[in-house]
Amino acid sequence: MDLAEFLEVLREEFDEIPSELITENIDFRSLEGWSSMHALILIALVDNHFGVLLAGEDLKSVSTVAELYNLVQNKLN
């Protein structure tokens, strides 16, 4: 799954957030209505699509979708 496909998955999953706001360089914590619940959904989504289980600290170390994607790729390699 490349970054563009990952963004599509995020847009589909977070259907309560306007899809045009979900871009590779968006700081996801800055999105209106972002909550700790979204962080859990993100971890479940990454686990399901990539087979990578992120810890809370992993998620805290990144702020944009692109950084998150790279983090997952690094863990896969």
Binding site: H38, I41, I43
Partner: protein, 354 residues
């Protein structure tokens, strides 16, 4: 290593009692409407049963057990009474002993409490199994449940809308059948802080006259240390890492193909966790019955509640099932078993209230 099998026992009946009072997620005013919708979509919880001030977990378990014993007419046959709960009636004595008397069971009944939460039903089944391997024991009454809502702070969005109250009674007996039951269990005390009530017992005792000291953990989470505290991220990571793996281990140990199991009845933690486990096992939704939408997370009662609520008809016929309990401790375990002609009872409202 807690990985073993046994045979010769069966579940005769499962009975569950829930309070009549309902609280709905969309009416939880501490959080915004958007947060309520997201919480409901993610956890699956639309409503929960909440016991009133005068109802305890033992009242719920008592009502469930009384109905079961009345219907099966076996008050005089119970050799062991086990009460699995983290909301006992008193600091002491053990609630199981008060229930022996209240249910009118013989003084020769062996009665004791077990302090476990979400994994408690599986542990209870293994204890029942252990006693029933001895011919001296014919029937074990296993009571599991919690009044979790007594420990949650209304101003804590991470716990208050998650937990519901329920009490269950499961009757196990020696069947003489050859079919095997397989168990595996795990404990990880390094995760003790993930779900904890810090104050009120020996480590941090309650001091007379002490006032409740509320503090803000994060936005939307205001509680005291006498309330239940839950680190959602840690619990979530634990469940994703351990549950599916332990289920696969048990299937391997028992030489059972995943397809041959009719139902996987998981502790109803929240839908996001349960769905993640299901996807890891690559199984269809119809093999994963749920009750969480209407009852929330009911601790050690959640598996019996799912059996009587979602599998009432199915459990009358022969089924191969896997039950999985996981949570506070951290503690987790699974049992693979066969059920047949299990009688079920579902009661709303306790006898105590009537």
């Amino acid at each position: 290593m807690a990985l073993f099998s046994s045979s010769g026992i069966s579940i005769e009946a499962v009975s569950v009692c829930v309070p009549q009072e309902i609280e709905r997620t969309l009416e939880y005013e501490w959080i915004t409407e958007n947060e309520r919708l997201l919480f409901q979509k993610t956890t699956g919880i639309e409503e929960r049963r909440v016991a009133n001030e005068t109802t305890t977990c033992s009242d719920l378990c008592y009502t469930a057990a009384k109905k079961l014993l009345d219907e099966l007419n076996c008050f005089n046959e119970i050799d062991v009474l086990i009460f699995v709960s983290q909301s006992p009636d008193y600091y002491l004595p053990a609630t199981a002993i008060t229930l022996q008397h209240r249910l009118g069971l013989s003084k020769s009944t062996m009665s004791f409490d077990v302090n476990l939460g979400c994994s408690g039903f599986i542990y209870g089944l293994s204890l029942a199994n252990t006693y029933l391997q001895n011919p001296a024991f014919k029937k074990v009454l296993l009571l599991c449940g919690d009044k979790s809502t007594i420990s949650t702070s209304y101003r804590d969005k991470s716990t208050y809308p998650l937990f519901g109250d329920a009490g269950s009674a499961t009757l196990l007996s020696r069947s003489g059948k050859e079919s095997n039951w397989y168990f595996n269990f795990y404990s990880d005390g390094s995760g003790k802080d993930a779900i904890i009530i810090k104050e009120g017992h020996s480590r941090n005792p309650y001091k007379w006259g002490e006032e409740l000291d509320y503090f803000e953990v994060e936005p939307g989470v205001i509680r005291t240390n006498k309330h239940l505290s839950l680190d959602g991220m840690k619990v979530f990571n634990f469940a994703l890492k351990e549950v599916a793996a332990s289920i696969k281990e048990l299937l391997d140990f028992s030489n059972t193909t995943i397809e041959s199991v009719n139902y996987f009845v998981l502790h109803q933690a929240n839908l996001l966790i349960n769905e993640s486990v299901r996807k890891k096992l690559k199984l269809d939704k119809d093999k994963f019955p749920i009750s969480i939408r209407h009852f929330g997370n009911t601790s050690s009662a959640s598996i019996p509640l799912t059996l009587v609520y979602a599998l009432k008809k199915e459990i009358c016929h022969p089924q191969k099932m896997l039950f999985s309990g996981f949570g506070v401790g951290l503690s987790w375990g699974n049992v693979l078993l066969e059920t047949e002609n299990v009688r079920t009872f579902f009661i709303e409202g306790t006898l105590h209230e009537k």
